[in-house]
């Protein structure tokens, strides 16, 4: 088992690109999406955030990289001029909700920015800055569900700055390389048992602990039960492999999110090995 850096495996799933553009409203859906950036002016060789700001109508939600038992992962495909390199899509900490009786869901309400870090080429032609384009698609649900999509674009010479990026990194899972998690992780059980239990031993146990499994074609996640007593949190996860499905069944990557006494949420990526015992 290990704590891992955020997002590396997940990133591969998504074709990221990003770019900027004035907002393209999706009035017919329940979500508005606009291209946003952390800076308006790009310096040669610099890195900058480029993403999509979703504004979600009250009571509706869109989905995290793992939508849960139903739903659809929000997707962004970025198209940038040659020389620009977009990193993996970064997902702020999701919330959990019940989609229907017994069917968990993971996603976002209100507003959220999904973004990636873009590296500019060293030889930017100021006379021909080019365009950043993004194809965005999502499923919004509130009892009923509505598919939405948007084609966004903006000139790389004048990106629309979103002030959300000033604190946005604080909404992302913490990297264990930068910040040691406040718990040690062990695991018992496995696929043979149908249940794997994560044990989180805290230096100081938080009031609330949430757990979000990464998306997997090969693993079916069932009931999840979380209990914290003293300095130990136990997360029981019913899990089985899907017969003949593609994907790894060697490990179960996930995100643990804690809420402190001050109401602040923090998250850490982690992963446990799956055995057949």
């Amino acid at each position: 088992m290990s704590l891992r850096r955020p997002l590396l495996p997940i990133a591969m799933v998504f074709l990221m690109g990003w770019l900027v553009s004035p907002a393209v409203a999706q009035e017919e859906t329940r979500v508005k999406a606009r291209l946003v950036a952390g800076t308006s002016t790009i310096e040669p060789g610099s890195t900058f955030w480029l993403g999509v700001h979703f504004e979600i109508e009250d009571g509706w939600h869109i989905y995290w990289r793992n939508p849960g038992g139903a739903g659809l992962t929000t997707a962004i495909e970025v198209d940038l001029p040659a020389g620009y390199v977009a990193g993996p899509l970064q997902w702020p900490l999701p919330i959990a909700f019940v989609q229907s009786e017994g069917i968990p869901g993971y996603g976002y309400e209100g507003s959220v920015v999904l973004a990636s870090e873009v590296t500019a080429p060293n030889d930017i032609d100021r006379s021909q800055p080019g365009m950043a384009r993004a194809k965005v698609s999502w499923l919004a649900c509130k009892g009923v569900c509505v598919l939405g999509s948007a084609d966004l674009e903006a000139s790389l010479s004048k990106l629309p700055v979103d002030p959300v990026f000033r604190q946005w990194a604080g909404q992302l899972p913490s990297s264990s390389e930068i910040s040691d998690p406040p718990f040690s992780l062990s695991a018992t059980g496995g696929l043979g048992d149908g249940v794997i239990t994560h044990w989180l031993r805290w230096t100081e146990a938080p009031p609330t602990v949430e757990w979000f499994p990464d998306p997997s074609d090969a693993l079916e996640i069932g009931d999840v039960r979380i209990q914290t007593r003293g300095g130990l949190t136990r997360i029981d996860v019913a899990v089985k492999s899907r017969k003949g499905a593609s994907g790894s069944i060697d490990e179960l990557p996930s995100l643990v999110v804690v809420t402190g006494d001050d109401g602040e949420r923090r998250g850490w990526e982690m992963s446990v090995e799956l055995t057949n015992n």
């Binding site: 017994g102 598919l147 074609d217 009931d223 089985k240 499905a245």
Partner: protein, 197 residues
């Protein structure tokens, strides 16, 4: 590590029962549980009426955009027609809490469907099978065993075009050829089943 594990086992005993196996409902290899529902015309239909036949179960919600996309494309209708000639029975089940026989009859008529839509407003059969999404597909072989559970295809966004793999068609071909189903379980996609609360 040894110290940690010792502590873990003690707390394990103290913290109570472990959860049930993943995926409430049925699994591939199980005998498909019998059920009786009424169809959109009010006739009683039981799974056991089709003993010895290959049966496809399709979970439906006409309000779900994934379902709407597949009905617009003719995915289910064409598949049911293709395999009808092979003796395959297609049963569509609607566990949407607010859709009664009349709503299902209208959908059947609007889409000129020849196959049966079963009304499951209470959600009993949906829960019995563990249906989570619309669509959610199940295949039962001639011996009454579940041989496929999962998505209709590998194209949740509907943008793959020809390269998309229809898991149900592949599985039916294997069953009809007397082969074991290679891809027997996949992750279903779609809207959550709108169960009665």
């Amino acid at each position: 590590m040894k110290h940690v594990m010792t502590g873990v086992m003690i707390v394990l005993a103290a913290m109570g029962a472990v959860p049930a196996m993943a995926g409430d409902g049925v699994s591939v290899g199980d005998t498909a549980p019998d059920f009786t529902l009424t169809d959109s015309a009010g006739n009683g239909v039981s799974l056991s009426d089709f003993e010895g036949k290959i049966v496809v179960l399709e979970w439906l919600n006409p309000d779900c955009p994934f379902v709407q996309r597949h009905y617009k494309a003719g995915t289910m209708k064409d598949l049911a027609a293709k395999y009808d000639g092979e003796g395959v029975v297609w049963l569509t089940i609607n566990s949407t809490n607010y859709m009664d026989a009349a709503a299902n009859a209208k959908f059947k008529a609007d889409n000129s469907l020849l196959y049966t839509i079963l009304v499951d407003q209470a959600g009993d059969v949906g829960h019995l099978y563990g249906a989570k999404t619309t669509p959610h597909m199940y295949i039962i072989d001639g011996s009454g065993s579940l041989v496929y559970i999962g998505a209709i295809d590998d194209d949740p966004r509907g943008n793959k075009g020809a390269p998309a793999v229809n898991y149900v068609a592949v599985a039916l071909d294997e069953v009809l050829a007397g082969k074991a189903v290679t891809t027997a379980e996949t992750k279903p996609y779609g809207c959550s089943v709108k169960y009665k609360k």
